[in-house]
């Protein structure tokens, strides 16, 4: 069993949440490494040396062609200097070894646009996407979420109701057709949904569902449960003082985002050699 597994947080080209993502990994039990994408392209750093990959939030390339579109393209074509290996091949090998990946916000958008999520066909074909919020606006607000206990997602194990901030303009989850949604539902891939704080039930009502996501979906995992993407930011809630109502509610010291990283660490310790 790994004592202190290694987490990598890829930075550069507009990632913004690497600092708190690294802190979250550390609190989860990982040794955390922030690595600029150029170090992967130059061959100095290889994903093989890590157990957990974080694709963190930000505005990759300014989201200029739509969120994460340019980075998805870059990772598809980029070649590691020296070895000639495609970055995508390195990534597929990481996935093939059963190592978990967490994509938050822009990282989720990246995973979806690379075809990694929901990843049902396994072919990398894009069957779902994240598009502009129905409000037409970027918004920062805290939302209530409900985890699906029957989901294979390893990150949400043992979770029920969670409160986290969303901070995005393109977070509306949509699918290519009804069949895709049925596949997601039947395989329990929608690990996290937006809920009404009063009823606790999944909701399409703005602002509780902040973007109009199909099926109230806030986060989705691959059938293996090892790849997980979500629009809300678990790394933004590491301590109770991050919570917007911490001065008026009694809350546990540990923030509601930390368990995602603890779960990842627990999984890596148990499952990886």
């Amino acid at each position: 069993m790994l004592a202190r597994p290694k987490a990598i947080i890829i930075t550069g080209n507009g990632t913004n949440c690497e600092r708190e993502a690294a802190e979250a990994c550390r609190l989860g039990g990982f040794e955390a490494f922030k690595v600029h994408i150029s170090a992967i392209l130059s061959g100095e750093v290889c994903l093989d040396d890590f157990h957990f990959l974080n694709l963190t939030g930000g505005f990759l390339d300014g989201d200029d062609l739509g969120s994460a579109m340019v980075q998805a393209n870059r990772l598809t074509y980029a070649v590691v200097k020296g070895s000639g290996e495609k970055v995508r091949e390195q990534l597929d090998r990481f996935i093939g070894k059963g190592r978990p990946i967490l994509g938050v916000c822009n990282g989720f958008q990246l995973m979806v646009k690379m075809g990694l999520l929901p990843g049902m066909a396994g072919s990398g074909e894009r069957v779902a996407t994240l598009t502009f919020n129905d409000s037409g606006r970027f918004e920062d607000r805290w939302v209530d979420l409900l985890a699906d206990p029957s989901s294979p997602c390893i990150f949400t194990r043992g979770m029920e109701k969670i409160t986290l901030p969303v901070r995005h303009g393109e977070g509306k989850f949509v699918v290519r057709d009804e069949g895709i949604l049925e596949g997601i539902e039947s395989r329990k891939l929608a690990a996290l949904r937006y809920v009404d704080p009063l009823t606790g039930l999944p909701t399409m009502e703005y602002p509780h569902n902040p973007n109009g996501s199909t099926g109230c979906i806030a986060g989705i995992c691959s059938p293996s449960g090892l790849l997980f993407g979500l629009m809300p930011h678990p790394e933004a809630y590491l301590h109770r003082v991050n919570h917007p109502r911490w001065t008026r509610q009694s809350l546990p010291e540990e923030g509601g985002g930390v368990p995602f990283f603890k779960n990842a660490c627990e999984y890596v310790r148990q499952a990886l050699p």
Partner: protein, 993 residues
């Protein structure tokens, strides 16, 4: 050959960008549209095979789940008009730049010189509109003719062939590399003609000083050695004009002023800056002795204070007013990414922790005819907010605090204050991080974006005629991603200790950045022909003074140059070696090996003659309004809650990411439903520590109508009051001053200049008195002195405005306080006295009068109160705290109650008062300074009262379960309102914006 690629949403997919146009067309241009579909259009001017083109169009350009594309011909569809909006040549096109990168990824090579991708947006509009409406829609909603080009195509006679032909907005300028001499020999009229025609903005005395320098024999002799004639080159004249600009030298703040008061007394002030700003800080620091937190003040791009033994804070606030008046989006975006470079270029460079922003606008509902060339305040509002949103969010810097002030005198010039705080380890690579200095032999290295004609002569409208291919210089659009890549790289270079000094390229471009850094060594040689350009055709003087964004200048020791360049290349950032710092005593500028400028450093920096100005304090007589109409105080309160200066700004603030980086503790909105207005922001910069930073702002331009002394004093008080309300320690705080004035130089076009200068003098005195009494040092600041609009007979001047931003420490963020009421049964205390001070209040503004009794600040009393309140917060006695400002006690109480979803019942007879003539309105709505409203649990009341023993306070009421606010005076009921009604009034004003 160039090809157009159109990308649009599939049928049935919502198009929120189009829906927004429908909304804005209705609000801004009163055009009612049925439907708008938007398309992204990429004009790809790259040598590609048809197969590559398909891979690009279907890959990075199109999301196949929701979009479709068409190459070389329009996507099918039915519409009434096509409105296609792109950029003019030379305008920063971020989408085009990213698209170009995506193309080069696909084809596996960099784009060649001259190749490029250009973006535009196509709006397919249906609705009841004619061609005139379509033109109006473009000019009032979709485009800005300073930066955009557009085409309007009606369905009638639509020819798809037409939209298949690409138009390339490439900059085409011929020539470049030219240097000419400027003949200064002649009379005053000749000199002023040069100043005017070259847009130098130099006065006759300044032109004469330059003339005098070039007439000196020894100067001419030295110039001969380098092949220069006696007359200056255009490069030299432009370098001098930039260095001596009001923007760089703060000539008004450094002028010799003769001040006359209303009684005929006179006083001479040798530099407002030295007399009031520098001196205030010196005094405060001297008194604080060992507790002094200042590390670097007034000498760098931003002020530096100590946060703790290991970390320093760096803070700066800038304005970007004129560019925002011309192009609100680009102006504000450039403003925010521009001010980011200040803390980034301070000391050895800091990482950026948060932004603050404060805007001053005319009413977005302004419905009178607009003078020529003024953009409607609704559009200014939208553009500025979006610019700051993109600038902050895309850079990953949380926008944590700010406000919006409304006054219709901001119609001619909106004020856009952007602030950024950075943090740096106190020691970096073995050296104190707040110090820096280029050394002789260090290389001059420019890092980041390339140079174009952007922003030459700042915001001055170019008199040069615009032709088809001429780039736009007046306004710029910031590029957060290019800047982010640069800062990612430079922070690594910093930590490796690869450079000795760093500064940003802002106003004045290289002329300013290199000229300033060369003061460290006493000279520099700069090779302008090495500078990377966005397009060919620039003359050397243009390269020198271009204000193209996203660039830093560094001094790199020669032994580190190789490593520096290698790291730069690896991280995809362009860096260029442009020359060497020397001790020659000269700013030596070369182009292609030839000397094109050779200026004495001494003259460049010290040769500017001091301005001499007259100030005359001659205020118009003011009076209180006398007997007011009797109104129901509850109705008045509801009305006040909905006024622009008081109402909720949540629709704006939600658009800013206020918690990226993970340190957010007190957010802009707080309370039971996350919608109450916080007084200040609290941020935890080091994620495994509980020490925090508190930041707040104070701004009260309305009080300038009575006396700018009190305006300034109240601005400081408001900022500190907000700071303390959230839990900040007033003994560990520093402030920034940011003056925005109307032209204070007496002249034919400004007949009241002497009065406006007197207002400036009095504001400085108010600022000095306040910060010295409070013991908060001023660490940096800024002034913008010409916020007037003058076209034809119409003149609009802003009210004199001072923004004070306070930053400081909170020892442990877990003692921070928010403003929302917490629990029924708790006591409500009002700290501080209330006087009949409705002058300049929102209450008076509501009935269209100004009054006379402006709030006066009792500095000593206030400071005692703030210290005691901080102590109470530290001891955990304060459940909530809110400052009384616009709208007075009644508004503060209402906000606390509806934010906390807890009712309140108070009796005004318990309010401590000064004076005996306080009617109900004064008790409810007076804006007397330095008051805090505090909630305390009954069990802690005795402890709390013991801490407040030296102060005047009143226990005015209690929190109640019933969701209402009840305000009585003795037995007489004045206000009884439900929380819902109050909140609705407060929220509805700007909800739809």
């Amino acid at each position: 050959m160039a090809v157009r690629v159109e990308v649009g949403f599939r049928d049935g997919v919502r198009d929120p960008r189009g829906e927004r146009v429908v909304r804005e067309a209705r609000e801004m241009a009163r055009i009612h549209l049925q439907n708008v579909r938007t398309l992204s259009v990429y004009t790809v001017d790259v040598d590609l095979s048809p197969e590559e083109l398909v891979r690009i169009a279907s890959g990075p350009f199109t999301d196949p789940v929701i979009q479709e594309f068409s190459i070389g011909k329009p996507l099918p569809g039915r519409f009434d008009f096509i409105l296609e909006v792109g950029f003019k040549p030379g305008v920063t096109d971020n989408v085009g730049r990213s698209a170009g990168e995506a193309v080069s990824q696909v084809i596996g090579r960099s784009l060649a010189e001259g190749e490029g991708v250009y973006s535009s947006i196509q709006y397919r509009v249906t609705g009841n509109l004619d061609e005139r409406d379509a033109r109006r829609l473009v000019s009032q909603v979709l485009a800005n003719d300073l930066i955009n080009r557009w085409e309007i195509i009606p369905w009638e006679g639509f020819d798809p062939e037409h939209l298949s032909r690409p138009e390339i907005p490439r900059v085409t300028i011929s020539g470049g590399g030219k240097v000419s001499e400027v003949d200064l020999e002649g009379d005053a009229a000749h000199l002023m003609e040069i100043s005017r025609s070259r847009l130098l903005a130099l006065s006759l005395r300044e032109m004469e000083a330059i003339q005098g320098y070039f007439r000196r024999l020894e100067v001419a002799r030295r110039r001969e050695d380098y092949g220069l004639g006696a007359a200056p080159t255009d490069v030299e004249v432009e370098a001098l004009a930039q260095t001596w600009s009001e923007h760089c030298k703060h000539k008004i703040f450094n002028a010799r002023i003769e001040y006359r008061d209303e009684k005929g007394g006179t006083e001479r002030i040798d530099s407002l800056f030295k007399t009031f700003i520098v001196e205030a800080t010196r005094l405060v620091r001297e008194r604080q002795g060992e507790r002094d937190i200042c590390l670097s003040v007034f000498k760098d791009n931003a002020g530096v204070i100590r946060f703790n033994d290991s970390w320093n804070l760096v803070f700066k606030v800038e304005t970007h007013n004129s560019p925002s008046a011309l192009d609100p989006y680009g102006g504000a975006l450039t403003g925010i990414v521009g001010v980011n470079r200040d803390p980034f270029g301070t000391g050895m460079g800091s990482s950026l922790l948060f932004n603050t922003d404060v805007f001053c606008f005319a009413s977005p509902f302004y419905d009178r005819p607009l003078p020529p060339r003024i953009i409607h305040p609704r559009r200014i509002f939208e553009g500025v907010v979006e610019g700051v949103e993109h600038g902050g969010n895309k850079s990953g810097i949380p926008t944590v605090n700010g406000t919006v002030v409304f006054d219709d005198r901001f119609l001619g010039k909106p004020l856009v204050y952007c602030g950024t705080c950075g943090i740096m380890p106190s020691v970096i690579a073995g050296r104190l991080s707040h110090l820096k200095g280029a050394r002789v032999g260090d290389r001059v290295v420019m890092v980041g974006g390339r140079i174009g004609k952007d922003g030459i002569h700042g915001a001055t409208f170019s008199s040069e005629e615009l032709h088809e291919g001429s780039p736009v210089t007046a306004v710029q659009i910031g590029d957060p991603i290019t800047q982010k890549r640069m800062t990612d790289f430079l922070l690594e270079a910093r930590d490796e200790g690869l450079y000795s000094s760093i500064t940003d390229n802002g106003a004045g471009g290289l002329s300013s950045s290199v000229g300033e850094m060369a003061r460290d060594t006493g000279g520099v040689v700069l090779d302008l022909d090495l500078a990377p350009l966005k397009y060919p055709g620039l003359d050397p003087w243009e390269i020198l003074v271009s204000e193209a964004q996203e660039r830093m200048t560094l001094s790199v020791p020669p032994e580190n140059l190789e490593r520096f360049m290698a790291l730069s290349e690896k991280m995809g950032v362009e860096s260029t070696d442009l020359g060497e710092f020397t001790d020659s005593g000269y700013f030596h500028i070369r182009f292609a090996g030839r000397t094109v400028g050779f200026l004495e450093m001494e003259f460049l920096h010290e040769g500017l003659p001091q301005m001499e100005l007259v100030a005359e304090w001659d205020p118009a007589p003011s009076a209180e309004p006398g007997v007011l109409p009797l109104e129901d105080p509850g109705e008045v309160l509801l009305d006040l809650l909905g006024r622009l200066n008081i109402c909720s700004k949540e629709t704006i603030v939600r658009r800013y990411d206020h918690e990226v980086q993970g340190g957010s503790v007190v957010k802009p909105f707080t309370g039971a439903k996350d919608d109450g207005p916080s007084d200040a922001a609290v941020v935890r910069p080091i994620l495994d520590s509980f020490e925090g930073v508190v930041v707040s702002n104070g701004i009260v331009p309305r009080y300038s109508d009575i006396d700018t002394y009190d305006m300034a004093a109240n601005a400081v008080d408001e900022a500190l009051r907000n700071f303390v309300a959230a839990g900040g320690d007033p003994s560990a705080a520093a402030a920034l001053d940011n003056f925005c004035w109307c032209d204070p130089i007496q002249s034919e076009k400004t007949p009241d200049g002497a009065f406006k200068l007197a207002q400036l003098v009095r504001a400085n005195r108010g600022l000095f008195d306040a910060v010295t009494a409070f013991g908060i040092p001023l660490i940096s600041g800024k002034d913008s002195m010409k916020n007037d609009y003058l076209v034809g007979e119409t003149r609009i001047s802003i009210p004199p405005t001072l923004l004070v931003s306070v930053i400081g420490r909170i020892p442990d963020v877990r003692v921070a306080v928010t403003m929302d009421l917490k629990k029924e049964g708790n006591f409500l205390y009002l700290l501080g006295e209330t006087s009949n001070e409705l002058g300049g209040s929102e209450y008076y503004a509501r009935i269209g009068c100004v009054g006379k009794n402006v709030p006066r600040v009792d500095f000593e009393g206030a400071l005692k109160r703030y210290r005691a309140a901080h102590r109470a917060a530290r001891e955990g006695l304060v459940r909530s705290c809110h400052d009384c400002s616009d709208g007075g006690l009644a508004v503060a109480l209402s906000e606390m109650a509806f934010s906390g979803d807890v009712g309140a019942e108070v009796d005004l007879s318990a309010v401590p008062v000064r004076g005996s003539d306080l009617d109900d309105a004064a008790l409810l709505f007076s804006e007397s300074a330095s008051r805090l409203l505090v909630e305390v649990e009954p069990g802690r009341a005795a402890d709390f009262e013991r801490l407040m023993v030296q102060d005047r306070w009143g226990r005015i009421g209690v929190c109640v379960a019933r969701p209402h606010v009840l305000i009585c005076r003795d037995r007489r009921e004045l206000v009884r309102l439900s929380l819902d009604r109050m909140k609705e009034s407060w929220q509805k004003t700007l909800r739809e914006l």
